[in-house]
């Protein structure tokens, strides 16, 4: 019975400085990591994707209004936008899958 130490103030106090004092350090490190995080990468990919989609839309508009010079230009842009979309979605799905796998992990 003497082997079990009593739960007292001596056991709790050492935890507090580690959790409270370095909060600012942890936060700034978190922010730095966040700018280069997966979310940021997805954001950048979506930005590029959006530009490509807008290009394709513009081409479609040009085709409808008779301003398009080359048919293949439109098909090219459209195909590229489609492939980029699928690539981004595939990367996102794979990452979410990995995240879910980690979340299911028994600790």
């Amino acid at each position: 019975m003497a082997l079990i130490p009593p739960v007292g103030a001596a056991m709790v106090t050492p935890i507090q400085p580690t959790t409270v004092a370095p909060t600012t350090g942890v936060e700034s490190a978190g922010a730095a990591a966040r700018s280069d995080s997966f979310g940021a990468a997805v954001n950048r990919a979506l930005d590029t994707l959006n530009t490509q989609q807008l290009n394709a839309d513009q081409m479609a508009r040009d085709a409808a209004t008779g301003k398009l010079q080359n048919v293949e230009d439109y098909l090219l842009t459209a195909a590229e936008a489609q492939l980029s979309t699928q690539l981004t979605v595939a990367v996102r799905n794979r990452a979410v899958e990995a995240f879910n796998e980690i979340m299911r992990m028994q600790v």
Partner: protein, 136 residues
């Protein structure tokens, strides 16, 4: 063109070149019977000059491009046609110096090459789509 799906851009550049060739040939065929008086230049057949675009990922090249349109001789073929309204004092007029056989042959070559580029485009697209399904 982004380097990620570069084959699409390469195939597209090929299509662009052959489209220009078909356009030029169409113009030539349309002007086969364009007659000019001897005081003016004859219709000059348009010839597309293609060149490769260097660079690209792993230096495999970035496709083809049209560098210039060369015009054939301005002399043309001077034909004796005294009844022609454009005939000069000697009864001569200028016809363009090209023949339909060459133009039609060019047209077929350009058309087939365009189709080949379309096939490359489709195959590349299918390959990229398949690549996105890896591990699914």
């Amino acid at each position: 063109m982004s380097g990620l799906f570069s084959s699409l851009g390469v195939a597209g550049s090929g299509m662009s070149v052959y489209k220009t060739w078909i356009d030029a040939t169409a113009d030539n065929v349309a002007n086969t019977n364009t007659v000019k008086p001897t005081s003016e230049a004859a219709y000059q057949a348009k010839n597309v000059v293609a060149a490769s675009v260097p660079g690209g990922a792993n230096a495999v090249g970035q496709g083809a491009q049209v560098t210039q349109i060369l015009l054939s001789d301005r002399e043309g073929t001077v034909v004796y046609a005294p009844d022609h309204p454009l005939a000069d004092q000697q009864g001569m007029v200028r016809y363009p110096s090209m023949n339909m056989t060459d133009q039609m042959t060019n047209l077929i070559i350009a058309q087939r090459a365009y189709q080949a580029n379309v096939t490359v485009f489709e195959r590349a697209r299918d390959a990229y789509l398949r690549a996105l399904e890896i591990g699914r």
